[in-house]
Symmetry: D3
Subunit: 240 residues, 6 copies
């Protein structure tokens, strides 16, 4: 299922209209209990991004892989970055190893230049302050480290299914990210998550309004039939 | 020992006059070595709160408890929230499990509407950014997760003695919270902590002033008899 | 190798001209793979500091050491602080124990008054918010705790080689710290790190500029001979 | 649902006929994904036990609970132990805290004398070697510690629903334990787990026999209709 | 570099003549600092095995991968097992997740029947006691769990480079395992590790003999020229 | 306080007459709450040892310390081992780092030859199986690793106060170790611990006998005055 560029852009915009919590809830309701990345922390405040997962895998360094004898060897991370098309979201799988930074400000700048919209790494970034303040590419990670990745890691491959913060991520999943964290949305479900999630966001805003006016939980959350009726009237009246 | 509403409010105000570090120190001096919650992180900057602990306990989900057959079953978390009286501080015990968010923006809004002053959870919150930016209820947690708690947890009960970030908390303990973390003050000690802690805050401010003027530690910290005399003169002169 | 005060100040200023990532990279290139402190978190944003390591060691409390019978006993932490000369950076080794705060606002104020430039502790600070907002001394730690250290720790000694966030630190190492973390630079290497690191910073800024203009990684990072030539021309033209 | 003593004994005997892995599988098939205690380690080799959960909860010590002023206070752990009836399995919830031993050889001897069949604690035991070698009561724990629990813990209560090694355990659940670990079987499901699990054990033994004779997985595991037919013939022929 | 069956068998036999510590040391001397699997625990005592790595990767379960719609889908773990040739050593990469058992007694029996010599999993086994006592296949793991893997994991693929207990393992590496743990020996180095390691084992046995006779470390470890001369004489005399 | 050799030997023999749990209890009663090493695991079953702590400290490797330029440099671990006198117990402080083995079979053989009675390391051993089966020196550790320590650690110094498994250990403390773990007994308390602990062991054996005969806890544990009288009669009758 490949979308045209404009359809993909529209879909990502719709997903950006909801929080990661709402998108996670939509997936939970469809039997996907394990799509939120537990423990990823943003390096910026207020960052939001949505893109298609472009996956890269790292492992602990070993000399025969870090310094391969084949002269035609291309560093997979470089190849992956040069393969980015606008709307891609880099998902780096380090197995939780934070002993070296996978991506610094120069790679981040290139990722942004090619249209990448964000990075998540279950390991460390390098130059996190500069990525945040100079490159302005939203990133989520398990930590920061001063070493380049070659000091402790080797890039294994890219494009494969990976693990990241306890989630199995396939290339092409939609990654939605905000201050709370990240959720991997299987591509086949992205459209219905966008539709139902948008409706849910509205409904929860409506209910929060009721709560702020003093309505007790038993009368509005989960919403009663009466509250749902009120919501649909309000929705119709406001043209949502 | 139950205080009248106004006495309780006054006591909480006095406790808010000191840092969690000072309150912890007052408890240490009385033989309570383990009242500071180690590892709780605020979701906001500059938040401060003091309230009486209202405890809730969660456990890993199991179908017979998540979906009980008894139709009269009331979700304990809902009951606990509707039991809040002004000045309560929710203390949620998840056993450190951050695989699902216990409280989102709607529950937080209801907690605030009923007069709750804060939440601490040794697990995850949901919608943390919205609780911080829209609901404005100060919260401390071990993490953030996009799933509602039903995805991985079940609410066991409320009002019992619980564990939270390494502290045994009884319902009715005073919880004092600031950027540094949280401390549970046994109700029977709250008044004397408020009194002695206030004095200690003043004294430490006075000593820090001396230090900033260049007095070496050996002459002022811990305070010598001479420094204490100077402090009491200063205190008298300034009407504290 | 002891520098004169002015040489030391000049060296620290030059080191402050680079990020911890660049300094770490310079050390990696010289065979030092393990000089970046993994996991230290700043209590402030935008803090930067460079100083010579003054080390202090803590251990779990035991009565015969916490309350020694020898009246001439001096608390090693107090002695260490009173030994600070301008440009020292306190490195506190707690073995990762965050059950008590090692340094509060009064000690931090004294450290600053004596010319200390920063603190790193692989344990907890106390009064972190006040150190940040009132004392303005940049600090990095593993956490915050309300108890003074006497509640759970004993200060063992100072001036010895210590471990801190996975790095062996010798008294006299240069500690460079920024938002990304901290790196320990052996004194014998500090001058060449300062020189080569400064050059590297410039080069990376130049390359990031190329990347932002759209040059692919294969043509500029790592830099080709042509890029290096362009860089040296640019460097000459701009008087760096 | 309370069984007569003889029915309960018969049920526990039937459950002892299967491994914890088989019982866990039976529960997984019924939608209970989280009943196996992850990380519990036996202190003996070859120990097996099955009993009804008798729960006890501990928390970090605090003086007002460790030394209550009420003279009529009874230590909950002592009360719980004296409440044991034959076939009970003690489930101690320490929140993972291994800083003190909950149960030593004397308490273990009393537990055994009253008919207790085993102990699991997500904290530490004391005198583990003596419990194993002198008392001969099978135990599973997260560690061993030399201190009695009063040094770091307080017993909160007993008989409530608890958490233990990531499982929510209700008093009355059947606990089945072997070298691999422990599983909590809700009482309402115990009979059908016993029945189906017994059948599954036989089937898996039969299939393992086929595998050992060289039958490839695709022809026998999961079993084909043909293998199931062979199994039922074998079962009939051998009177199971 | 593919060896004939008999050459491979001979090589594995020679590697079995040394401890994992000696093989690790041989690799350290060649610049491979990170080939020993940190934290793997044997389920048996006295087990030893050497084989060629056959890798399998698992990730957290997600419905679209656990229950794929393509009817031609083959479970990768089953395919991997049926691809075993004598002398293979299964290396299962679970990213440290011990929430479900990857391999039980039936799969272990099939692995053994096809000539597999051992299993290492940086996650959990199922039926560990039966694998040890009935199947007699040596295994190393991070834990044991009662659930089959489908409860929490999905098998992603096999034959790729994986991570296992902090080591990057390529299919075809030689895995040497004993009570102390496991080491991954790159195939290109296996022959020289076998040769030099055998010599080192002899030398260390000789030196340990000297030590037991009372020779101080300064005279024999590391061996002096004189000790090496004695060793070679002893070696010649004993026909090693 | 230095004992003559025979007094020291007699004291160690008396301490060996009690479990680590009893010795820990004796220290708890004297205000030492934190002398038991939490998490140390024996490499053998049934090992027991008591000796005076000889401490050694390790840190993460760095080239200027691993390969010092001073030719007169002596490896501190070698010096420490050659300083052993009979009855010493090696206490190695690695800060919990298990990335390399500190001591292998040859060093262990030398330690034993010089009269060392045991090793505890809050890091890894090397050749653990050989130390257990060939050298027969009882050891406790946090793990096993195949690399020699030079691969990841540097020996810093010996004879200083260290941390080990959460305990501050001074050179000269008595270390008592058994299957349950290890306890550090300050030298000044060793004699009274030996005396009171021996009495406590007898008393607990007596009480366990009562419990096994069916006496309820309320009548014997903690012992009533009547039980204590019975115990003293029994003690007198049996000549203890």
């Amino acid at each position: 299922m490949t979308l045209s560029n404009s359809d993909d852009l529209a879909l990502r915009e719709r997903l950006l209209g909801m929080t990661t919590a709402t998108a996670t809830n939509m997936l939970n309701l469809r039997g996907y209990q394990n799509q939120f990345m537990t423990g990823a922390r943003p390096i910026q405040t207020g960052g939001r991004a949505c893109g298609r997962a472009l996956t890269v895998r790292f492992g602990p360094a070993r000399p025969d892989m870090t310094f391969p004898q084949d002269e035609r060897h291309l560093e997979p991370l470089w190849v992956a970055i040069e393969s980015i098309v606008p709307g891609d979201f880099l998902v780096l799988d380090c197995g939780g190893d934070v002993q070296a930074g996978t991506t610094g400000d120069i790679l981040a700048a290139r990722i942004k230049r090619r249209g990448g919209v964000g990075i998540v790494v279950d390991g460390a970034l390098r130059d996190a302050a500069q990525i945040r303040d100079l490159v302005h590419l939203p990133c989520w990670s398990a930590g920061v480290h001063g070493s380049g990745f070659i000091a402790a890691l080797v890039c294994l491959d890219w494009g494969l299914t990976v693990r990241c913060f306890g989630v199995t991520v396939r290339s092409g999943d939609y990654i939605l990210a905000d201050d709370d964290g990240l959720v991997a949305i299987p591509a086949a479900l992205a459209d219905e998550v966008a539709t139902d999630g948008g409706e849910t966001e509205l409904k929860e805003t409506f209910i929060r309004g009721l709560v702020e006016q003093g309505v007790p939980l038993s009368e509005c959350y989960p919403p009663t039939a009466d509250v749902l009726r009120q919501f649909h009237e309000w929705q119709a009246a406001h043209g949502h």
